[in-house]
Each structure stands twice: as C-alpha cells, then as structure tokens.
C-alpha cells in the first residue's frame, strides 16, 4: 500500500467537502474491496475519507411503500433484518450469500454499488427491483446508475447515502457461485413488480450487470418458468474465463432465470 492521508469526518457534508478539496481522494466504507486493491497497488489514493464515523448512514426502515437501506449498512445487517425479511425476502437472502460471514460483517451496500464489480450481487437486485440510489446530490435510478465495468454515474465528490427499493409482488435471486471466490459466476434476480417484470443478471456481462428484456416480456405475459422455454440469451457480449465460457454462462442465465421464477412463485 502506498502512503495516504486519513480523514475521519462526522457528517456527509464534511466528507463531501474533503472529497471536493483533495484531488483523487477516495471514500472507504467496509474496505473489503478498496483495501485489497490498494495492497495490490492497483489503486493509490493520496487521501482516504473514512465513512465509519459519519452519522445517519446506516439503518433499515420502511418509507411508505419502499424499503430504505442506509449506504453503510453491512451485508450481515441486511441479511438478518426482520424488516428486509418481511418486505423483500429475496434481498435478505442475497445479502446472506455474499462472500462469507466475515466479509458480510464489514462490507456495505453503498460500497458494493459504488464499486459495481461485474460479479457483485447487489447490482442485480437494484436493477431488477427498480431501486433508486440516493446520494448527497441527487436520486439516481438503478438504470442510470450502473455504467459498465467498475463504473457508475457517481461524480468524484458524490456519496451514496441510501438505497430505496419499491416493494415487488414477488422476487427471487438465484446465484451460481464460483466455489473458490464465492462471487457469482452467474446470478439472476427476478422481480414481479406491480406493473413490470425485472430480470437482471450479474457475473455474466462483459459490461457488468444487465437486464434481459426478452425474458421480461415473456414473463409479463405469464409469470411462470414455462414462459421462458425456448428463449435464450446470446453468448455475444458475455464473459469468458477459466471458470466458464460465454456459452456456458449464457446457458446458466436461462437455467437460473427459470429457477428464480419458480422460487418467486414459491415452487
């Protein structure tokens, strides 16, 4: 790790000022992506702005018909929350299959979304559920937030404060884990929303998380795994690596989407 200056602001405003004032400063939340990347010297921010003591950034609550999760809320807190378990059980399940327990005790939803790792789990939930990412400056729809590999719409002095999820009628997440890293080789989140269907895929897209509109259209007509029969996702634009070819990932997307629909239907 290269040297850096460490800042411990107490409010979002102070944190934003520190980001604006210090060029190339970075926020650190759980540190479970940023610290290993800095140790490998793939990142060398001259300033780190620590969010751990910033007030009002964690917590889970219902706001009207939407579930609101603070950016610094850990994966373990989302997984174990009775509020999330009641409102969107698929989201609690997703948080509970991120990495391992030690990772879940430090990693945060805000850090995961800001990082937009192409194999991370939360981006699929945000896209399928139509979540809104709330920052110190504005509200961004998930659709406009994710902008390709490790890239988001966030500006350099922008801080995610919370994420809001409108409640779906039904939802499920099915993850096919890489057995060593436990990241998603492919993960599919399916949500039946009041007037829409969302099918979002992580782990497979060469540009990161994406929606499968062909599946969504079919499921809008009939929300049953049978509706997906005969449909497939082209292997073009999918990742290929030592863990699986693009064709294999394309096949997994179909299989996991059908399983997710069944799971959402309680089958």
């Amino acid at each position: 790790m290269y040297e850096f200056k460490f800042h411990r602001p107490a409010t979002v405003r102070q944190a934003a000022n520190l980001l604006a004032k210090n060029e190339d400063a970075k926020l650190v939340a759980g540190g479970h992506t940023l610290i290993p990347v800095m140790k490998q010297r793939l990142a060398s921010p001259p300033h780190l702005v620590d969010l751990s003591k910033v007030e009002n950034l964690s917590g889970i609550e219902m706001k009207g018909r939407a579930l609101s999760i603070g950016a610094m809320t850990t994966h373990a807190d989302v997984a174990g929350s009775p509020i999330v378990g009641e409102a969107i059980p698929a989201l609690a399940y997703l948080a509970g299959v991120i990495g391992d327990p030690a990772v879940r005790h430090r990693g945060t939803i805000g850090g995961s979304l800001a990082n937009n790792d192409p194999t991370a789990d939360y981006p699929a939930a945000c896209l399928a559920l139509g979540a809104t990412i709330v920052t110190n400056k504005r509200r961004l729809k998930a659709e406009e937030f994710f902008a390709g590999l490790f890239t988001t719409a966030l500006e350099s002095d922008e801080i995610i404060t919370r994420v809001t999820f409108p409640l779906p009628k039904k939802a499920a997440y099915v993850k096919f884990r890489n057995q060593a890293s436990r990241y998603a080789l492919v993960g599919v989140f399916v949500a039946r929303r009041p007037s829409d269907v969302g099918v979002a895929v992580t782990g497979a897209g060469a540009d990161g998380v994406f929606r499968v509109t062909a599946f969504e259209e079919a499921l809008k007509k009939r929300f049953a795994s049978k509706a997906l029969e005969g449909l497939s996702v082209p292997a073009d634009g999918l990742n290929a690596d030592i863990h699986g070819s693009a064709e294999y990932r394309a096949h997994l997307i179909g299989v996991l989407a059908a399983r997710a629909v069944d799971a959402a239907n309680g089958k």
Binding site: F4, V28, P36, D100, A102
Partner: protein, 165 residues
C-alpha cells in the same frame, strides 16, 4: 500525521498513536501489541487466518484499518481462555483433532466463537460448514473442525441452560 485511537483489546483498554494510517488491525495486533496469535495468511480477505471479533462480530482483521476502529472492543485468541482453563471451543478443537499444523486454528476458533454467538447454524453440519466457509484450512482438517463446532455449541448451550436454571 498522528492518529490516535483507543481500543479495548481482550478486556484491556489500549490507547494507540498510529504514526501511519496504513496499519491494519492485524498489523496493529501482531507488530505493535505483540499479540501474535492472530495469523496473517493471504492478507486480502480470502483465508480467514486473521479472524478476530470486533464488537462481538467476526471480521477479517487484515482488511480493516485500525484507524477506523476507534472505540471498538476487540477479542483475539489470546483473550478467550480463563487462565489455564481453555475456552470450550478450544477444548473441542483438541478433542476432535480440528487441526494439524495449527496455522489456521486461531482464526477457526474465533470464527467458531462468533458463529456460535450468532446462533444461526443449529445442528446441521452443512450449515456449520457454510458458516465456517470464510476460514480455509490447507491441512484439510475440516471434518474435525465441523465436529468441534457442533460439540462446543452443545457444551455452551448446556452451560447456558445450567446458568439459567
């Protein structure tokens, strides 16, 4: 730049002035507080050798900057026994051959103590294996580790009952 933090480590208050913010909790424990029971395996969150409890929760100390932990309570392997009486999880690891070389063992034991406190795994060996999945063992002592966790869980539950009665 000097950063001062104050921690409780194994019940004892420690005030630390950090001359460099790069110090992780793991390096703080090993290099500055001379508590070398906690091990460094991968140094990037993948092996669990560095597992300690912070405010009761198991975490990877190699990925946590000490400077972020002002005010936290840390429990390490050095703090779990009572004098010469081993913690029930330590005793169970010995009884069930839950290790060979022992390098991963402090992390396994801290993770098991955290897991038992979380109270989520129940009696199902598969759920124990899943809940211990962040702790790798290159010697492959997994079968003994799972048995040890199950056994220690029973011992601790029985002790709890005894206290309540």
């Amino acid at each position: 730049m000097n950063l001062s933090i104050s921690l409780t480590v194994n019940g004892e208050r420690r005030d630390v002035a950090l001359d460099d913010p790069r110090v992780t909790l793991l390096d703080l424990l090993r290099e500055r507080l001379h508590l070398t029971g906690t091990k460094k395996g991968c140094d990037r969150g993948q092996c669990g050798a560095c597992t300690v409890l912070v405010d009761g929760r198991r975490i990877n100390s190699c990925l946590t900057l000490a400077a972020s932990l002002d005010g936290a309570a840390v429990l390490t392997i050095e703090g779990v026994a009572h004098g010469d009486t081993l913690h029930p999880v330590q005793a169970a690891f010995i009884a069930h051959d839950g290790f060979q070389c022992g390098f991963c063992t402090p992390g396994q034991i801290m993770s098991a103590i955290g897991l038992i406190a979380e109270g989520q795994a129940g009696d199902d060996p598969e759920r124990i294996r899943e809940a211990m999945s962040g702790n790798l063992c290159r010697c492959g002592a997994y079968a003994g580790i799972t048995e040890a966790v199950l056994d220690a869980q029973h011992t601790l539950a029985a002790a709890e009952k005894g206290r309540a009665a």
